[in-house]
């Protein structure tokens, strides 16, 4: 690249050389403890175990897919500020096929999870039956995950070509597959940009539709008489927020462990903080838009949903969700300094992820364990079920980082135009 005008903007092709020992231990511990715990949970109370499984599946799939959509959004919106974190957000890709497989057991234990299996709702059973549920879920999520993988593939491919000759032998096969029919760097970048600009909108559309169905089928249908037109957007925008928080947390961790202090600079964390802050507020807007209409309308079949979540023992959990997803991040991230300080931003991101985990619990459990007939708060069953999911997500992300460059080096030509005039910081120095 002798005449590269953008050398100063190019990020280094950093890759995690090997899985860090701590990560390996954590993954193994999470998986072993989690699987044993889950088996124990199934043996003691299968109904509860599978319900915990459902809400953990919802949470982890949400944040993994949300992160991919976040990366797609910054690419589509030409957010050049985010060029250091796009690839980091894509590192959850490996979890999506796992999530696809992990969904399948739910169809076999549907009777334990979905109230409408045992007590079919007259008329609605056309929609609420396990075979149709399985078909529409698998088809929609299949398309969504496939598009996600294509998207990540095309954003990765130009960099894979640049790195192809320098990867260790164990990755040779992966890189050869990634760079099949290689046509030269310049052509490939152009191809990638064109394909990304086509895949991006498709991915966003399919995301909205597929996750609306997830919200209808795995949240709304748990109270078969309840319906809300906003539940879909509420659910997928929450997932998007989770994706941003996960990205922020991962970016801070990567920065420390991979020595990316030059590539991920405070102005970028400032912007990432703004996104986190903004989508916390947006979550609150979604929440409020749904809440106020139901509360004010006072229709019995609608209000039941709220009453279940506000009465004991679920009330404190719901309150915590509101604090953790809106009030605390709002005041915490209002200033410039907390946004720019990676450790503070990461703390809030972790809080948001935790609150979102509780939020998915509040969406699921009060419908299944009604407050007046034996409510169930978070116990060891719920926690041990979260562990293998967390282990698998962590494993996918670490795997991604050990294979692929965690920063995107190639710059789409549309971004180049913006970089030249935008005054974005040029502190990242190319490593090679």
């Amino acid at each position: 690249m002798a005449h590269d005008n953008f050398a100063a903007y190019r990020l280094p092709l950093v890759r995690l050389e090997r899985t860090p020992a701590a990560a390996r231990t954590a993954i193994i511990a999470l998986l072993v403890v989690g699987v044993i715990g889950f088996v124990a949970s199934v043996l003691t109370d299968p109904t509860r175990a599978w319900r915990a499984y459902l809400y953990n599946w919802l949470f982890f799939t949400s944040i993994a897919q949300g992160a991919i959509i976040f990366s797609a959004a910054t690419i589509m919106a030409r957010g050049v500020w985010a060029r250091g974190i796009r690839r980091i957000a894509q590192s959850t890709m490996g979890f999506l096929p796992i999530a696809f497989v992990l969904l399948i057991p739910i169809f076999f234990v549907g009777g334990k999870v979905f109230p409408w299996v045992e007590h079919p709702v007259p008329g609605k059973d056309v929609w609420l039956n396990i075979p149709f549920l399985a078909v529409r879920s698998l088809v929609l999520l299949g398309i969504l995950f496939y598009l996600s993988s294509r998207f990540v593939y095309w954003s990765l491919r130009p960099d894979a070509g640049a790195l192809r000759d320098r990867v260790p032998d164990r990755l040779r096969g992966v890189y050869d597959r990634l760079t099949r029919n290689w046509q030269g760097q310049a052509v490939e970048e152009e191809r990638a940009e064109r394909n990304l600009s086509r895949l991006g909108p498709a991915l966003a559309l399919v995301y909205a539709v597929a996750f609306s169905f997830v919200a209808w089928d795995y949240v709304m249908s748990l109270e078969p008489h309840w319906f809300s037109t906003l539940i879909g957007p509420y659910f997928f925008m929450g997932a998007f927020l989770g994706g941003i928080a996960l990205t922020a947390l991962t970016a801070v961790i990567c920065r420390g462990t991979l020595g990316l202090e030059k590539a991920l600079v405070p102005p970028q964390f400032h912007d990432l903080g703004k996104m986190t802050f903004g989508f916390c507020v947006f979550w609150a807007y979604m929440f409020w838009s749904q809440y106020i209409v139901i509360w004010y309308g006072q229709l019995p079949w609608e209000q039941a949903f709220l009453i279940h979540r506000l009465s004991k023992p679920y009330g404190p959990f719901a309150l915590f969700v509101f604090l953790g997803l809106f009030v605390i991040p709002f005041f915490g991230l209002l200033g410039v300094k907390p946004k720019k300080t990676p450790s503070i931003l990461a703390t809030f991101a972790a809080l948001i992820l935790f609150a979102l985990w509780i939020e998915r619990y509040v969406l699921v459990y009060p419908s299944l364990y009604l407050p007046d007939t034996g409510a169930v708060t978070i116990g060891w069953q719920e926690i041990v079920t979260a562990l293998p999911f967390a282990g698998l997500l962590l494993m996918s992300m670490v795997n991604f980082a050990t294979r692929f460059p965690i920063l995107q080096q190639w710059i789409p030509s549309a971004d180049k135009e913006i970089l030249l005039t935008s005054g974005e910081p040029v502190e990242a120095v190319a490593g090679d």
Binding site: I231, G232, Y285, S289, V293, T421
Partner: protein, 467 residues
């Protein structure tokens, strides 16, 4: 030497000088076409005022409002204009915060449109009152009768939401204009203009301190205005959603209305800017890129609106509630089927064309498409309001509504009123932001070009390039 010496959005503009000249020229002596247009607008406005007078003298019965349909074309038009008002703040404030690189030349016109659209919208609840002289009942004024408005009514929230929006958007509009008014003040030789601009520019001299305070105030106001983009139309939507009328009481209304508002507002910006660009020769300022970016936003919001339509129909089916299902069935195949299909076709169908780059970059195509969208969005509100009220829960109450000539004349008059303000604005105030446009133009000194000398008001900007 850097590779780029032209702004990527406005490649046709060569110097700072040119910006001042072109923008300030807009405010010079208007041609005959301007006065002909003004006369036509005044005639239509006259029709609207006449119709309103008729209604005031003869009573609200002159409108088509009947018993179950107590809200008709007036409320439809109110929501329509509040919606139009949204894109200005979106372009000026939200895109500023997002550091979008293409808002500079269009945001002033869009913002002016916002203010005038709110001014127009505000008329309609008052017209709808029938006895407009008691409009102050809406305000929580202390009074000897001990009567207060019902604070639990969304209609009252609306009063606050809309007046807050008017206040903030007008302030934002004005503050952002101060440096440009100062430039106009320095350039003009007409005595009344000199006096007016001197007062309005608040003694702006363009010192570093003034710029610093200005930039900060502008940013804070933008941050304040951004949530208003969401809140105002949400509150408007709750006028409907809070009630339990089938077809109104649904949770998606707030975001759905906001998206629809931005959708229609952006469409209106394009509808307005296309002729203005032509008449005033602003091709280098409102470039294809601006139109393409707006077209993309229109496409996105159209998809949100389409999603909301689809969800509403699905949920009506899924609810297994008879009134709910009936209302949506009735919309599609009942007496008002034509209105519903116009709405669906214009808002969900026609914008599909915007997927094609060829369409997005064709100004005539955009002009036609956005007119369809404007029509479609008026019908959207019409469908929501009228079809739900006409056939509520009890069939013996059902009654259809037909707008009267009075309502239609006032609707036309409202367009005239809106355009009147806009035309006056174009002649009196700088319709393109001079100061902000320069921020995205290449700095003359830095690129070794002939140093362009701008008007005194922006003297310090050149200095910034030097530092």
């Amino acid at each position: 030497m850097a590779t780029v010496i032209r702004s990527e959005t406005h490649p046709g503009i060569r110097s700072y000088e040119e910006v001042n000249r072109d923008v300030l020229k807009l405010m010079s002596r208007p041609g005959r076409a301007y006065f002909i247009l003004l006369a036509a607008i005044l005639a239509v406005l006259g029709l609207g005022i006449f119709a309103w007078m008729v209604q005031i003298v003869l009573g609200i019965g002159m409108s088509g409002l009947i018993n179950p349909v107590g809200w008709g074309a007036y409320i439809t038009t109110f929501v329509f204009w509040v919606g139009i008002a949204h894109s200005g703040t979106l372009i000026s404030a939200v895109l500023l915060l997002f550091r979008a690189r293409w808002r500079q030349s269009i945001y002033r016109a869009a913002e002016a449109m916002t203010v005038f659209a709110v001014l127009t919208a505000g008329l309609f609840p008052i017209i709808h009152l029938g006895r407009p002289w008691i409009f102050y009942y809406l305000l929580p004024l202390p009074n000897q009768r001990g009567l207060w408005p019902n604070f639990r009514s969304p209609l009252l929230w609306d009063v606050f939401a809309v007046s807050t929006y008017l206040t903030v958007s007008a302030t934002f509009f004005y503050i952002g204009m101060i440096p440009d008014i100062a430039a106009a003040r320095d350039a003009t030789t007409v005595p009344w203009r000199k006096k007016l601009y001197s007062i309005l520019s608040l003694g702006w001299r363009g010192t570093d301190r003034e710029w610093k305070n200005f930039t900060r105030a502008y940013l804070y106001l933008a941050a304040l205005a951004t949530p208003l983009v969401l809140s105002v139309h949400s509150v408007v939507s709750w006028d409907f959603a809070m009630s339990i009328v089938p077809g109104w009481h649904t949770t998606i209304f707030a975001p759905y209305f906001v998206a629809g508002a931005i959708f229609s507002g952006l469409a209106m910006v394009i509808t307005l800017l296309v002729p203005i660009r032509k008449i005033f020769g602003l091709q280098e300022y409102f470039t294809i890129r601006h139109f393409e970016m707006m077209a993309k936003l229109i496409l996105v919001t159209s998809l949100v609106v389409t999603y909301a339509y689809a969800t509403e129909y699905f949920m009506a089916w899924y609810s297994f509630e008879t009134p709910e299902r009936h209302v949506f069935w009735n919309r599609l195949f009942g007496d008002y089927w034509w209105a519903t299909w116009i709405m669906i076709l214009c808002n969900a169908g026609v914008p599909i064309l915007l997927w094609f780059k060829k369409v997005r970059t064709s100004i005539p195509a955009l002009f036609v498409i956005t007119i369809f969208i404007n029509i479609g969005m008026w019908f959207e509100r019409f469908v929501i309001i009228i079809t739900s009220l006409a056939q509520e829960y009890e069939p013996w109450q059902w009654q259809n509504y037909q707008p009267s000539w009075v309502e239609m004349s006032i609707l036309l008059g409202s367009f005239a009123w809106f355009f009147l303000w806009f035309l006056l604005f174009m002649r009196v105030l700088p319709a393109v932001s001079i100061a902000e446009l320069k921020e995205v133009l290449p700095v003359p000194l830095r690129f070794g070009r002939r140093g362009a000398r701008s008007a005194g008001a922006h003297g310090s900007e050149e200095g910034r390039g030097n530092e």
